[in-house]
Symmetry: C2
Subunit: 343 residues, 2 copies
């Protein structure tokens, strides 16, 4: 393969005050790196945009030992899928497909330590950024490891048309739960019910009282809340939680852009005591020991057509900032992935 | 023993708008009941006042399947200690001491099914309303069952001079934790540090930023928060919680008197995700299977003088309403028990 002349790179230009926009990132192109002995050079092909990147773009440390925010000028992005183009490791040959943490750039040098080779004939390359990537692993561990769903329990999933939410709901359904999704807009709701097979879906844009709508959809109450939205959603759902209910906090897409003091608060916490609730935050990499089991089960479900993920492939490296921004305006469904090798 | 002529009883007269006061309860005396075959009559001697009774005095159901509030006119109170005065069960003789759920009244008929006989020579009768009663069992299960403390972990206990808080802190200390208490006022703080042996104590009345004060007292962060206060306290502590931290919600004395919409909210929930926190509500009777173990361990600690509870004994049945009201104004320390057999 012919290499391009420069390595396009996107870095953090300006911390977003609220929603990310065109000024958030800037190009900071560089030379294409050279692999040394034991290393190989990967050309990225697929770069996902992920709402989970939003918090580190801001500097909103609420505690002294909080995560460091991303530095201004630092390379952004995270997991990618690409192809080896030059190799000084005999186990990796040009043309091999790999997934690795190679960020939003064309080229990166890496090693067998972090790169995972896969067969593109077996599963489509983007599967490693979706069902078998962070969204799938977050859905699986956030639901199964943290909330231990039992057959016939009622599971409510917010951002149900999103990458993680759509998978969490399907996993719950596969395990025998009754699954109710919350999504915004008729198109997403149709998708959640008709394509993903959720039992019910609530269009939060069409109701004035989301708590009452969930109560109506779940007359027996809610055993598990898998939340991707934030405090206001959790607070509205608390009065509907059943005794012994579990809440997984997976993401807070509605709150990321607000400074902590401006975020809505969870007030209905007396429900924790009266109904013996528990709430846990998910940090997916804590559960790496369970990834093999999760990947095996999700691969099997994919083969049986019991686990699908809506994907939008956007062509063009320069589309990355706009594709990322659209995650926060409710326009996207499932996983958005930017394909950069056709530019 | 000579019976009194009437059975004094206190019932709910008026739901408190905010703090309970003299108008909350009224006397509704009745006849002294007669035991039938297999039953016995108990004369109550010690009646505790407990902040846990506050929620059911209001009608603030936040969900459709919420606890029923206490009916207007219903007998109030809960666990008591008393002596058998008439018996038609050969296993219980007049003079025997028992603890049972017999409410705020002089006399009640009960059976061996719920009454627990104890030897007053072995442990003082009020022990069954304190260390070996609901406060002790709440402290033990809320800390050990829900939060699994490990030696050298840092435990923060709020309402540290209260019945449950003072016990939770001592239990944590006995298990090898570093224990920091939060209490209001110099006298309580001295008691918590000097008498109860907490490692540190914070007077929340003397600091403007409770979160900063806890950070200062816990430079390594907090592994376990045992909260008896409510949402504002939990929110202030969240930024100080360490990775993998556990929060037990045991009581919410600052929030009980506010309608849910007026309560402070917990905003800093992103800490759950970044630091993999978990939060659980305690309902002590869920953990009855562990009561024998808890009672055994706490009895042993009492014998070794490693578990003490400050008790205030107030004489006079008619003092019950005022003693209850004082729980919510920060005036009390440890357990308040009203003694009614000297009237």
């Amino acid at each position: 393969m012919t290499l391009m002349k420069t390595n396009r790179r996107l870095v953090l230009a300006r911390r977003p005050d609220s929603l990310p926009d065109a000024s958030t990132f800037r190009r900071d192109d560089g030379a294409i790196p050279e692999p040394r002995e034991g290393e190989f050079l990967v050309r990225n092909v697929f770069l996902p945009v992920d709402p989970g990147m939003r918090p580190v773009l801001s500097d909103v440390r609420i505690g002294a030992d909080e995560f460091e925010p991303l530095a201004l000028g630092a390379l952004v992005g995270y997991l990618t899928v690409g192809q080896v183009v030059q190799s000084r490791d005999p186990a990796f040959a040009p043309g091999d497909w790999v997934t690795d943490i190679l960020f939003w750039q064309d080229y990166a040098v890496t090693t067998a330590l972090t790169a995972r080779k896969f067969d593109p004939q077996e599963l489509s390359p983007t599967t490693w950024l979706g069902i078998l990537g962070v969204p799938g692993l977050s859905a699986w561990t956030g639901l199964i490891t943290l909330a231990a769903p039992q057959p016939k329990e009622t599971l409510v999933v917010t951002s149900a048309a999103g990458a993680v939410g759509s998978l969490a709901g399907q996993i719950g359904r596969n395990l025998g739960c009754r699954v109710v999704g919350v999504a915004g807009g008729a198109a997403k709701c149709r998708f959640v019910k008709d394509e993903l097979g959720f039992d019910e879906v609530i269009d939060y844009r069409s109701v004035t009282d989301i708590g009452a709508a969930v109560r109506h959809a779940c007359p027996q109450g809610v055993d598990i809340l898998f939340d991707n939205v934030g405090n206001a959603m959790v607070d509205a759902m608390l009065p509907v939680m059943r005794r012994g209910g579990r809440i997984t906090l997976c993401g807070q897409i509605a709150d990321y852009h607000l400074p902590p003091a401006a975020r809505p608060g969870i007030k209905n916490t007396n429900r924790f005591i009266t109904h013996r609730l528990s709430m846990r935050g998910l940090f997916v990499y804590d559960h790496a020991a369970q990834f093999p089991q999760a990947l095996g089960q999700m691969t099997q479900w994919m083969r049986e057509k019991k686990l699908i993920l809506s994907e939008t492939i956007v062509p063009g490296f320069d589309q990355l900032p706009a594709a990322f921004a659209r995650l926060f305006t409710g326009e996207t469904m499932g996983r958005t992935i930017v394909r950069i090798d056709g530019d």
